[in-house]
C-alpha cells in the first residue's frame, strides 16, 4: 500500500487520526494541546469527513471540565467522542474520567503532557499531569515520537472499542506535540482496517435511548458499591492482551512493530533504564551508541503504562540485568518514589516472589527524575545515569540534568559527551518572532522532508516575551530516521538572523569546529568583520568557522518584504548548506512559497519570489583575518547597580544560562522580588518617541496609553533640575494649581517597543508642520545613549505627592502618578496593559491583585523579569496567580482575609484600650480613607500605633497583653485601606471562571474586578470565547462566530448592588479614569469591562485606540456606568456615557482582519452576519437607552 510522507508535528498527527475516527469532539484551549482542537475545528469547518464519510461535530466548551462533561454525555448517548487537553485541563477532567471509566466507556483522550502549576506555572512538557490522573481507571499509552503519535492514536482507538476501557493517549508536550517531523501518514484504508465497525455499533448500542431505557449513574450504598467496583476487573486484565493484539495487527498493516514494553540494547545487558515518552527516543539512540562501544546496557520503552503489566515488563528484560533505573518525568513530593519507579519495584518484587522474573538475583532498582518542564534530556545525561549504575552503591531517587546543591540528589555527567551522527545536517537559526525565521524553517523542513529522501526534524525554542521575542530553530536533516528528542548542541550550520544578538547571546557556543555561519549584517561585506564583537571574532577564528553575510533587511526592503527576511535567509541556507542543488532548491522554495501564500494573492507570492531572486547577489563569503581586532566587547547582561538577586539569578536567565543555576539559587516557594523588568534593557524598538515641549499641551494622554509605561511625566521645581544632563527638556507646567513649576516628559527609549500608540493619541499638532505632533517617532539607536542618561535623571526626580495639591481624578493629573507596572513583555501596542498600568497608578501602593492565568499573568509574571514594581517608599502591588478558572474566588479569599484581619485588628485596638491613647484609637477606628489624604493620614496613625506598641512590647507588659500587642503589631497594616483587584481576560470572566465570578459578585464584599476583554483567548492564540462578537473569525470559530457576544455587564447589573462599568480608553479616557475611581471607591463588588484591542483582532496595533473609538461610535461598545449608590439618591443607577450610534457597524469591523477574513473567504455569510450583528447592536442600544432613561 502506498502511503504519503508528511512533515507535521505531534499535535497534527494526533488530531488527524482523532478527526478520522470520531463523531463528536469537545474542545477547549490549553497549551500545548490547543492546536489539536484548532485542527479539528478547521477541518470540520472545511467539511472534511471521518472514515465513515461524515464531518465530526466540533464543539468548544467553557472549560476542560465542561469539555469532559460534554464528552461524557456524548459517549453515554453512543457517539464516538474525543477531546484534547493537557496539564490543569486534564486535572479538571478527572471527576468525569472516573465516571467514564467506571461505566466502561470507549474513548481516547489525546494528551500533550505538560507540567502542573506548583511553585510556578509552566507551559512545558513533563508527565505531572497524566501521573495525577493515573488512578482514574484509564489505560495509558505513551507515544515517544511524532510517528508514534499517529500510530498510537489509532491503536488506542482500536483498543478502546474492544476493551471498553477508556484510554489516555499521551505524548510529551512541546518536545513531541510541537516537533515537526517527517512521518508516514496513515491512509483511510489503514484506519478503517484497524477500526471494527461492529465494535463501533456496539458502542452506539450501549448509548442511552428512550426506546430501550436504562438507568446509568446510580447512587450506591455500602452494601454493593465495593462489589460493583470490582466488576470491571476482567476488562482491565484483558487490556494488555488487546493492546498487543492491536499493535500486532497494526504492524501487519504498516510494518511498524510495537510491544507493550520495547526493549532495546545488549542481550546481556547488566544495566537497563526504563522510561517512557520522548526521552526514550534519545535513550534508544544512546544505548545503541554505547552498545556499539561494548557497553552492556539497554533501555525499556514503556508503551502501555496503565494497566501496568508486570508480566510483560519482566518478559522484556534480559535475565542479566543487575541494576534497573526507572526514570520519571514527574515529581511526587513526599512519596517513596515516583510512579514508574514504584511500579517497577512492585513488578520486579512480585515477579521474584512468584518466580516469574528472569533474574537469578534481585536486581538493584533505583529511580530518578529528569526533564521536568521540558528540561533537556540528552545522551550525556543518559550516559551519566549508566555510569552511576556501574557504582557499587548507585544513588537512588536521583535527579539528572540539574545541579541540586541543596539535597544533593543530582548525578554528575559529562556534558561534552555526544552522539550526533556525522551525516546529519544540524542547523541552528537565531531569529526574531517578527522576522519570519520559524515559518521559513518549517517550510525548509517540508521541502527537505517531502521533496528529498532525507528525514527531517524541526524543533523551535521561543522566548518568554510576546514582543521582540527571540526564536531558536533546531533543524536536523539526514538519510536515516531521527531519534533525537533534544536540542542541537553541536551544529554544523548556525544562522544568526539578527545582528544585535551577537552582543546579547553566545550564539556561536553550539557551533562545532569548521561549522558554517550565516549572518544577517546591516553592513557592506567588507565592513562585516570589523562590526563583530571581539569575543565573536575570537570564536570564529578559534573554531575555524566559515562566515557568510547578507544584508537581508536591505534585500527585504528592496523587494517589498518589509521586515520579513524569512525567504531571503532560507534561500541563503539552501545556497550555502548544499542540502539540495541550488537551482533545485530555489525551485522548491518557490513551490513552497506558492503553496503557503498562493491563496493570499499573486502580489504576496510575487514579492516573495522577488526576494528569493534578489538574494544570492547579496550573499557574500567573509574573509577571516587571523586575529580578533575588534574593540567591541560584550556589555554586561544587567547593570552593576542591579540588586544581588538580579545579578546572580535573573541575569543568568536573561543570558540564556538559566539551566546552569543550581537549586540553591532559586526561591523555595515561588516567591520572587518585584520590579525586575527595569534591569532588562531589551532595545527592541526601531523607533522611539521624541517629545516636543513647545507643541505639548501636557494633557497626559500619551502617558496614559503607553502600554509599557515608557512615557512618563513629572512636575518639579527649578531647583530639582539644577543638575539636569545636557539636552534634558522641560517646559513651564500648565497647571493653575502649580505655578512656577517645570513639567518634563521623558521616554525610556531602551524599554520602548516602538508601538506608536502615543503618537496616535497625541492631540497637539505642530502649527508649522501639521504632520508632526507633540510626540513623534524617530530612530531609536541615535537616542539610546542620551536617552539612558535622561531616564536615569528623570527617575531620581521627586514624584509629585499623592496627597497634596492635586486630585487625581482626571487624565491630566493621573499622568503624575508613578506607574507600578512597567516594561512588561506584552505585545507592542497591547490594549490591556494601559488599564493595568492605570490600576497601578491609582491604587498600586495599596493593591493586592489576583490575576487569572492568561496574557496578563504571563506579561505580569513570566520569568526572568516581571513588571510589577514598587515606589520609592517600597510599596507596590502584591500580585499572585492561582489558576485560570478560580481567579474570582482567589481574589475573594484575599478579601476575606483582609476583612477578617481588619476586624481582629480593630478588636485588638479596643482590647488594648489601656495602652493606646483614646484619640489615636478613635481616629484609627473611624478613619476616613476615601482619598489619598485620608489614606496618608491613616498610614501615619498606623506608624504611630506600631511605634507605640513596639515600645510597650519592649517594656514587658502583663503576660496576657503580650500576645495581643504582638498580634496587633502583625496586623496593624491592614488598618490602611487595601484595594483588592481581580484581574483577568474574557476567557476567564465569560467562560471558565464565570461561575466563580458570578458567585463572588453576588456576595457583596468589596472586590474590584477588571476584565481585560480582548474578545478571544489571546494568550493561547485567539480561540473564541463567549465574548467573541458575532461574525468575527477566531480559532474554534473558523467559519465566523454565529452568536452574539454575551452581555456580562448586564448580567452583573441584575444583582442591583454590583457597580458595573464598560470602558474603552480609546473612546473616552476620562470616562475610564472616572470608572476606575468609582469602582474602587464603592464599598461592594465592582466590575469593569475594558475594551482591549489585541493582536488577535488583526489590526494595525498603532490604530487600536481608534478602533476603540469606532466601536463606541457604532454603538457596538456603549460606554456606561451602573452605580448602585445612585439608587439611594433616587437616581437611575445606569448612566449611558456614549451618544447615539452615528456610524454603521461596518465602519468599525472591516478595519479588522478577524472580520475581513470572512468577507474574503465567505462573503455571503459575512454579509448575513453583518446584518444580524447590526440588528443586534441596534436592539442592544435601545435596551440600554431604555434602562438608562427609566425613572
Amino acid at each position: 500500500m502506498t502511503r504519503t510522507f508528511v512533515t507535521i508535528d505531534g499535535n497534527e498527527a494526533a488530531a488527524y487520526v482523532a478527526h478520522k475516527t470520531n463523531e463528536v469532539i469537545a474542545i477547549y484551549p490549553i497549551t500545548p494541546s490547543s492546536p489539536m482542537g484548532e485542527w479539528a475545528d478547521q477541518w470540520s469547518a472545511e467539511n472534511k469527513v471521518n472514515i465513515w464519510g461524515t464531518t465530526p461535530l466540533v464543539q468548544e466548551m467553557q472549560a476542560e471540565g465542561g469539555a469532559a462533561g460534554a464528552v461524557h454525555g456524548a459517549l453515554q448517548t453512543g457517539a464516538l467522542t474525543t477531546t484534547f487537553t493537557a496539564s490543569q485541563g486534564l486535572l479538571l477532567m478527572i471527576p468525569n474520567m472516573y465516571k467514564i471509566a467506571g461505566e466502561l466507556t470507549s474513548t481516547v483522550f489525546h494528551i500533550a503532557a505538560r507540567s502542573l502549576a506548583a511553585q510556578g506555572l509552566s507551559i512545558f512538557g513533563d508527565h505531572s499531569d497524566v501521573m495525577a490522573a493515573r488512578s482514574a481507571g484509564w489505560a495509558m499509552l505513551f507515544a515517544n515520537s511524532v510517528q508514534e503519535v499517529m500510530d498510537f492514536a489509532l491503536i488506542t482507538q482500536a483498543a478502546t472499542l474492544q476493551a471498553r476501557v477508556p484510554f489516555l493517549h499521551v505524548f510529551d508536550g512541546f518536545r513531541t506535540s510541537h516537533e515537526v517531523m517527517k512521518v508516514e501518514q496513515l491512509s483511510d484504508a489503514d484506519i478503517h482496517a484497524m477500526i471494527d465497525d461492529d465494535l463501533v455499533r456496539s458502542h452506539r448500542a450501549r448509548g442511552l435511548s428512550p426506546d430501550r431505557p436504562v438507568l446509568r449513574g446510580t447512587a450506591q450504598n455500602p452494601d454493593v458499591y465495593f462489589q460493583a467496583r470490582e466488576t470491571v476487573n476482567p476488562f482491565y486484565l484483558a487490556v494488555p492482551g488487546i493492546v498487543q493484539e492491536k499493535m500486532d495487527h497494526f504492524a501487519g498493516l504498516s510494518g511498524r512493530s510495537y510491544k507493550l514494553f520495547d526493549y532495546v540494547g545488549a542481550a546481556d545487558a547488566d544495566r537497563v533504564i526504563v522510561l517512557m515518552g520522548s526521552g526514550a527516543e534519545t535513550a534508544e539512540e544512546t544505548v545503541n551508541h554505547l552498545v556499539a562501544q561494548g557497553e552492556k546496557v539497554g533501555v525499556v520503552k514503556v508503551r502501555l503504562y496503565r494497566p501496568f503489566s508486570g508480566v510483560h515488563l519482566l518478559a522484556a528484560l534480559p535475565a542479566s540485568v543487575r541494576v534497573l533505573a526507572a526514570l520519571d518525568r514527574t515529581k511526587e513530593p513526599g512519596a517513596t518514589g515516583e510512579p514508574l519507579y514504584q511500579d517497577i519495584v512492585t513488578a520486579v518484587m512480585e515477579g521474584m516472589a512468584e518466580g516469574a522474573a528472569p533474574f537469578a538475583k534481585l536486581p538493584r532498582i533505583i529511580g530518578g527524575r529528569y526533564g521536568l518542564s521540558s528540561k533537556e534530556f540528552t545522551p550525556a545525561m543518559i550516559k551519566g545515569i549508566f555510569d552511576e549504575m556501574k557504582k557499587p552503591h548507585p544513588k537512588n531517587h536521583f535527579t539528572i540534568g540539574i545541579d541540586d546543591d541543596v539535597t544533593f540528589t543530582s548525578l554528575a555527567y559529562d556534558p561534552d559527551f555526544g552522539i550526533e551522527a556525522r551525516g546529519t545536517v544540524r542547523a541552528l537559526f537565531w531569529g526574531l518572532g517578527a522576522d519570519g525565521t520559524v515559518g521559513a524553517n518549517k517550510n525548509s523542513i517540508k521541502i527537505i522532508g517531502e521533496e528529498t529522501p532525507n528525514y527531517a526534524q524541526g524543533y523551535f525554542v521561543y522566548d518568554s516575551k510576546k514582543s521582540g521575542a527571540r526564536t531558536i530553530s533546531h533543524l536536523r536533516f539526514g538519510p536515516h530516521p531521527i531519534h533525537r528528542a533534544y536540542l542541537i548542541h553541536t551544529a554544523n550550520f548556525v544562522a544568526v538572523h539578527q545582528f544585535g544578538f551577537l552582543e546579547r547571546y553566545d550564539v556561536l557556543a553550539d557551533a562545532e569546529p569548521g561549522a558554517t555561519v550565516l549572518l544577517n549584517a546591516p553592513f557592506p561585506p567588507d565592513e562585516v568583520w570589523d562590526a563583530l564583537p571581539r569575543p565573536v571574532q575570537r570564536q570564529i577564528i578559534a573554531k575555524k568557522l566559515k562566515l557568510y553575510a547578507i544584508d537581508a533587511y536591505r534585500v527585504a526592503q528592496e523587494t517589498g518584504m518589509g521586515v520579513r527576511i524569512n525567504t531571503i535567509m532560507q534561500t541563503c541556507f539552501f545556497a550555502i548548506s548544499g542540502v539540495l542543488p541550488r537551482e533545485e532548491a530555489i525551485a522548491e522554495i518557490k513551490k513552497a512559497i506558492y503553496k503557503t501564500y498562493g491563496k493570499r494573492g499573486e502580489a504576496v507570492v510575487q514579492k516573495n519570489y522577488d526576494a528569493v531572486d534578489a538574494t544570492l547577489a547579496h550573499l557574500h563569503p567573509i574573509a577571516l583575518p587571523d586575529r580578533a581586532g575588534s574593540l567591541l566587547e560584550l556589555p554586561p547582561v544587567v547593570p552593576a547597580e542591579a540588586p544581588p538577586f538580579v545579578q546572580q539569578v535573573t541575569a543568568m536567565m536573561l543570558a540564556g544560562r538559566g539551566d546552569e543555576l543550581p537549586v540553591s539559587a532559586l526561591p523555595v516557594d515561588g516567591t520572587y522580588p518585584t520590579g525586575t523588568t527595569q534591569w532588562e534593557k531589551r532595545n527592541i524598538a526601531l523607533e522611539a518617541p521624541v517629545w516636543d515641549p513647545e507643541v505639548c499641551i501636557q494633557c497626559g494622554k500619551c502617558v496614559l496609553v503607553c502600554p509599557h509605561a515608557v512615557i512618563r511625566s513629572k512636575v518639579v521645581g527649578e531647583e530639582a533640575l539644577a543638575a539636569a544632563p545636557a539636552g534634558f527638556l522641560t517646559a513651564p507646567a500648565r497647571w493653575k494649581e502649580l505655578p512656577d513649576l517645570r513639567y518634563t516628559l521623558q521616554v525610556a527609549v531602551e524599554d520602548c517597543t516602538g508601538c506608536a500608540l502615543c503618537v496616535e493619541v497625541c492631540p497637539a499638532k505642530n502649527k508649522r508642520m501639521v504632520g508632526r505632533k507633540a510626540i513623534n517617532m524617530a530612530p531609536q539607536l541615535p537616542q539610546r545613549s542620551q536617552g539612558r542618561v535622561h531616564w536615569a535623571f528623570f527617575r531620581d526626580l521627586p514624584d509629585f505627592p499623592r496627597h497634596d495639591g492635586l486630585t487625581f481624578n482626571n487624565v491630566k493629573n493621573v499622568q503624575l502618578l508613578e506607574p507600578l507596572f512597567e516594561f512588561s513583555g506584552a505585545c507592542a501596542g497591547c490594549g490591556e496593559t494601559p488599564y493595568v498600568k492605570l490600576l497601578s497608578q491609582l491604587f498600586g501602593d495599596r493593591a493586592i491583585i489576583a490575576n487569572a492565568t492568561g496574557c496578563s499573568s504571563i506579561y505580569g509574571g513570566n520569568l526572568p523579569t516581571t513588571p510589577w514594581t514598587v515606589n520609592k517608599e517600597g510599596r507596590g502591588p502584591a500580585w499572585s496567580n492561582s489558576l485560570f478558572e478560580d481567579n474570582a474566588e482567589f481574589g475573594f479569599g484575599m478579601r476575606l482575609t483582609l476583612d477578617k484581619q481588619g476586624e481582629y485588628a480593630r478588636d485588638l485596638i479596643v482590647r488594648l484600650g489601656d495602652l493606646i491613647p483614646p484619640e489615636l484609637a478613635a481616629a484609627l477606628l473611624a478613619a476616613e480613607q476615601s482619598d489619598e489624604a485620608g489614606i496618608a493620614a491613616q498610614r501615619a496613625r498606623v506608624a504611630q500605633l506600631k511605634s507605640l506598641l513596639e515600645a510597650k512590647r519592649l517594656a514587658h507588659p502583663a503576660p496576657d497583653l503580650q500576645p495581643l500587642i504582638s498580634d496587633l503589631l502583625s496586623l496593624a497594616d491592614v488598618l490602611v485601606k487595601r484595594s483588592v483587584w481581580i484581574v483577568g481576560g474574557d476567557g476567564w470572566a465569560y467562560d471558565i471562571g464565570y461561575g466563580g465570578l458570578d458567585h463572588v459578585l453576588a456576595q457583596g464584599r468589596d472586590v474590584n474586578v477588571l476584565v481585560l476583554d480582548t474578545e478571544v483567548y489571546s494568550n493561547t492564540g485567539g480561540q473564541a470565547s463567549k465574548a467573541t462578537p458575532l461574525g468575527a473569525v477566531a480559532k474554534f470559530a473558523a467559519g465566523g462566530k454565529p452568536t452574539v457576544k454575551k452581555d456580562l455587564g448586564r448580567m452583573a447589573m441584575n444583582y442591583g448592588y454590583v457597580y458595573v462599568a464598560q470602558v474603552a480608553m480609546g473612546a473616552n479616557d476620562a470616562h475610564t479614569v472616572r470608572a476606575f475611581l468609582e469602582a474602587e471607591s464603592y464599598d461592594g463588588p465592582s466590575l469593569i469591562i475594558a475594551y482591549s484591542h489585541c493582536i488577535a483582532h488583526g489590526i494595525n496595533m498603532a490604530k487600536g485606540l481608534e478602533q476603540q473609538k469606532l466601536a463606541m461610535q457604532t454603538g457596538y461598545w456603549p460606554l456606561y456606568r451602573f452605580d448602585p449608590r445612585r439608587q439611594a439618591e433616587g437616581q437611575n443607577p445606569l448612566q449611558l456615557d456614549a451618544g447615539q450610534p452615528k456610524l454603521p457597524l461596518s465602519d468599525y469591523i472591516y478595519h479588522e482582519a478577524r472580520y475581513r477574513m470572512l468577507l474574503q473567504s465567505n462573503p455571503d455569510v459575512a454579509k448575513r452576519f453583518l446584518d444580524e450583528a447590526q440588528a443586534a447592536i441596534n436592539q442592544h442600544w435601545q435596551t440600554y437607552e431604555r434602562l438608562a432613561s427609566e425613572a
Binding site: 492546536p35 472545511e46 521575542a469 491563496k599 473569525v1033 474574503q1160
Partner: protein, 338 residues
Amino acid sequence: MTDLTTTYMGMTLKNPIVPSASPLSYTLAGMRQLEDAGAAAVVMHSLFEEQILQESHHLDHYLHYGIESYAEALNYFPEQSSYSIGPDEYLNLIAAAQRALDIPIIASLNGVSSGGWVKYAQYIEQAGADGLELNIYYIPTDPAMTGAAVEEMYVNVVRDVRQSISIPLAVKISPYFSATANICYRLAAHGANALVLFNRFYQPDFDLEQLEVAPHLVLSTPFAMRVALRWVAILYGRVQADYAITNGVRSSVDVLKAIMAGANVAMMASELLEHGLRRIGEIEQEMRAWMEAHEYESVQMMRGSMSQQHVAEPAAFERANYMKVLRSWRPDPAGVLF
C-alpha cells in the same frame, strides 16, 4: 418619432445616456435597476489594482503579524481554505451582468502598474465585458518627471492594453495636459476607440479644526462639464475617436450640449446619486421634447453640430473667447465687488 440611438465604441446604444462608473453598479441588482431606468449602457464601477494589491498585502500582513514568537500563541487565526482576493468578485459580476442584462456592459479598470493594466484587461475581456474603459488617474508629483514622460506612460499603457485585448477600448483621462489635443490624438492612434473626457480629480480639502487633509466626495456640478464640452468640440472631426463627456452632466440640456459638441454619449453619476435613477427616463423624455420642439430628427443629426469645425465662430473655443469673457465682467449692481 425622434431617434435617440447613438453609437459608442462600435456599439449601437438606444440613447446617449450612460451611467458612469459609480457605486450604482456595485451589484448586479444595481445594474439591473440602471437598465430598467433606461440607461443605454453601463460603465461598471472601477476595478482598482492597488485595492487588490492592498487586500492581498494586508491579509498576508495580519496573518503573519505576531506569529511564531511566543510558544503559547504560534498564530492567531485559523487559515481559511481560500480567499476571494483579486479580481474574481469583479469578474464574476461582469459575467453575471452579461447574462442578466441586455444593455452593453463596459468594465472600468483603474491600474497602477504596466503589468497590472494588461493582466486585468485580459481578465475583463475573458469575463465577457462588451468594452473596457481605462481610467488613468495619475498625479505626477515628482518634480523630475517631464510632461513628455507622463504622456509617454499614458500612450504605452493604451498601446499595451490594446495589443492584449480585442474588445473596444475607451480611455478616460484628466484635463491637465499641456497638449490635450495631441495626447488625445496619440491615444486614439495607439488604439483607443473612445476618449472619455474628463476624469474627476477629487481634490482634497482641509479641516482647519483638526488640521488634517480631509478628502471627501463632492458631487459634480453642471459647470464642471464645460471643460470637456470645449475639448470635445475642439477634437471632434480632428481626432478620430468616439467621445464621451463625463463630469457635470446633470440635465437633458447638458446631454444635448454634449452631443452637439461631438460626444457620442453623455455619462452621469452625480445626478443619479442625488436625485435617483428616474432621472434617466426624465432626461430622455426632456431630450425628446426639446428635439421635437427644435425639429431635430435624431441624435446623429445633432452630433457635432456645435463642434469647433461647425460653429460660426471657431475662435469662441480659443483665446479670443477668454478675452471676451474677461471683458464681460460687470460689478454687482449693489456696488459690492465680492
